[in-house]
Amino acid sequence: MTDEEFRAEVRGWLAARLASAEFACLAGKGGTGRAHEFVAERMAWERRLGADGWIGLGWPEDDGGRGLPWRRQVIFYEEYARADAPGRVGHIGEQLVAPTLLTFGTPEQKARFLPGIAAGTELWCQGYSEPGAGSDLAGLRTRAALRDGEWHVDGQKIWTSLAHVADWCFLLARTSADAERHRGLSCLLVPVRQPGVEIRPIRQITGTAEFNEVFFDDARTDAGNVAGEPGDGWRVALGMLGVERGVSNLGQLIGFQREFESVLAAARGNGSIADPDIAGRIADAWTGLQVLRFTTEEVLGTAAPDPVAGGAAANVVKLMWTSWHQRLGELAVDVIGPDAMLAGPEYDLSDTQRLFLFSRAETIFGGSNEIQRNIVAERGLGLPRG
């Protein structure tokens, strides 16, 4: 099968499924600023994806994946975005937990957890940030101790997407109190639905709740549910950040193109494109998208380190796309003009308003852009640490 035949297969599958009675309601749902929508339907969609073999495309075949090359994975994400398919509820399992287990997990852990991720039947959330440990993640204070063959977890996590639907939490906790900061952390796999775990949604800037606080009060998990060695959690937790993002970063460019086109259509529709300032900003947004595409393809699409970005290519791309997307949101609202000041009943917002508001999160989550700049300065440019 050629790449283009594969693309046609993906496209055909998505078109057929999104036209079906069960999933027709889902097109365009659950995306930027809309992760609260149609959650039950999107969970069913995740199981459909799994049943038809669209989860774990890049995993080795022996581990339940399809062993597809990088390019095919990108094609899947591109077509997914082009079809306006719904926001995923299984991406943390597929893109963070599974790659981590494939690298650091025991055969037993892989056998236990990968099938549920691949089938879309077990959903994951990620427990890294804490109220006192955001950018300074190594300062986290959630503790876990091994007693009677179980880890006992106490503490609090925050900004936990999808915790309210997740079955499992991929949790970074301190397991050795006397060790300094980065040492003494472990990556635990903790069941979410148990008496010791309490989840509270965080209402955010958009009025909706996509993130949660998660409280652990003597929550338990089996002694074997630690990814990598106990005490090696820092390396395990951060080792996979960025590794799998390349594929989705390339795929999301198609979604950005769609968003740009809707801004352009709005500007034509209400005549604001006749304003030279708006027209110039539209040209800049389009130019920026081409530049983002070329750069993403170049620095993430090749194995060799980029001559400028060096080992910080993923950080360069994160700085670029988040800034571009934020500016697009600002432009989108200015194109709409005064009507952008109005909200619907019960604070129901338009897609434009959600883009405008939610994009403020993007320069903060996944490592704030200030932290990204630190990494580019250090790993990309080799500047000395203070």
């Binding site: 352009l264 494109i273 027209a279 110039g280 539209i282 040209a283 800049d284 389009w286 130019t287 081409q290 530049v291 983002l292 070329f294 750069t295 393809e297 170049e298 620095v299 090749t302 980029d306 001559p307 400028v308 970005a309 910080a312 290519a313 360069v316 700085l319 670029m320 200030e370 990204q372 700049r373 630190n374 580019v376 300065a377 250090e378 990309g380 440019l381 080799g382 500047l383 000395p384 640490r385 203070g386």
Partner: protein, 342 residues
């Protein structure tokens, strides 16, 4: 992204640029290295490589602001070389061997002021890049391109803000000319692509030198590269410089795919892409270069403001590259129009 041959070429040009100085540089660049003949067909004494290889050489010579009319001359080799075996008025056959050997230096004249009547050119063009030392002008008149000997024009060299490359005012008073097959619009977009590549190379140099300085300059008892205010500015610049290089080479790929040697099925799509990416890449890369040069001066402090330090030459080159062949504002409108965004 380089092929093995391109990587070897890059290393050779970089090595040459490290050592070059003085009046013998052009002879080595053209003779020993054969850089002006990279896109000239072999039958005219070139190496028959192409625009991708010219781009590699332009990026590396741009990095050091090589004071030679390389960009214009190498591009003339590519543009005339596209006429290939066709006699086409004999322009290719007449000029390509000189371009390949380095005996003939070229410059491009775009703009709207030159007219062709009965096979003769008339008009005046200012700001002709590399015009002062050119022996050949490739001139736009209407939508067509013509080759004219400098001996048939009146050339007045201009003093320039950027002393590393020349400009001239060129007058044609009924100058005899030969038709060149390449459309004028394509030639100007190719020139923009090469200016983009050159700017990306020079911007990378500004960043490299600045980062090097920040590692060694000590204030308050430590290298100033440990201060976050400066580190973050360098990180932002690294993002821009990375993006400039990627964008410039995307434009180079469109230039290569739309040249006459490429598969016919791909040429027209690539030509449309070049029409957008030429101005887009030139604007983006020159803007990045400008920012990199400005940061180079600021982050070097007082030393960056001196005549001895190289920073001012980069700042002047950057501004010149922004203003040549479409200002940022003009190119923004051009991209908007060509990409159908209005």
């Amino acid at each position: 992204m380089d092929t093995p041959e391109q990587a070897a070429l890059r290393e050779a040009v970089r090595d040459f640029c490290r050592k070059q100085s003085g009046p013998g540089a052009w002879d080595r660049l053209t003779g020993e290295l054969g850089l002006t003949g990279l896109a000239v067909p072999e039958c005219y004494g070139g190496s028959g490589a192409g625009l991708a290889e010219v781009a590699v050489a332009v990026e590396e010579t741009g990095r050091v602001l090589l004071p030679a009319p390389y960009l214009s001359t190498a591009l003339a080799g590519a543009v005339l070389g596209e006429d290939g075996g066709e006699p086409a008025g004999g322009a290719a056959a007449g000029f390509l061997p000189g371009i390949a050997s380095g005996a003939l230096r070229a410059a491009f004249v775009f703009g709207d002021s030159v007219q062709v009547t009965d096979g003769r050119l008339a008009g005046v063009a200012r700001h002709v890049l590399d015009g002062a030392e050119a022996g050949l002008f490739v001139v736009r008149a209407g939508e067509a391109l013509f080759a004219v000997r400098a001996a048939d024009a009146v050339v007045t060299p201009a003093g320039t803000l950027d002393e590393t490359r020349s400009q001239a005012t060129v007058e044609f008073h009924g100058a005899p000319c030969a038709r060149v097959g390449c459309p004028a619009g394509r030639a100007e977009d190719l020139l923009r692509v090469l200016l983009a590549v050159e700017s990306a190379g020079a911007a990378a140099h500004c960043l490299d030198v600045t980062v090097g300085y920040l590692k060694t300059r000590v204030q308050f008892g430590r290298p100033i590269g440990t201060f976050q205010a400066l580190r973050h500015r360098c990180a932002d610049l690294a993002v821009e410089v990375t993006s400039a290089r990627s964008t410039a080479y995307a434009a180079v790929r469109a230039a290569v795919s739309s040249s006459t040697g490429s598969p016919a099925s791909a040429v027209s799509a690539a030509a449309a892409e070049l029409a957008v990416l030429g101005p887009l890449a030139k604007r983006h890369c020159a803007d990045v270069f400008w920012h990199a040069a400005a940061e180079m001066i600021q982050l070097h402090g007082g030393i960056g403001f001196t005549w001895e330090h190289e920073a001012h030459r980069y700042l002047k080159r950057a501004k010149t590259s922004q203003l040549l062949h479409g200002t940022p504002a003009e190119l923004r409108r051009l991209v908007s129009q060509r990409a159908g965004l209005s």
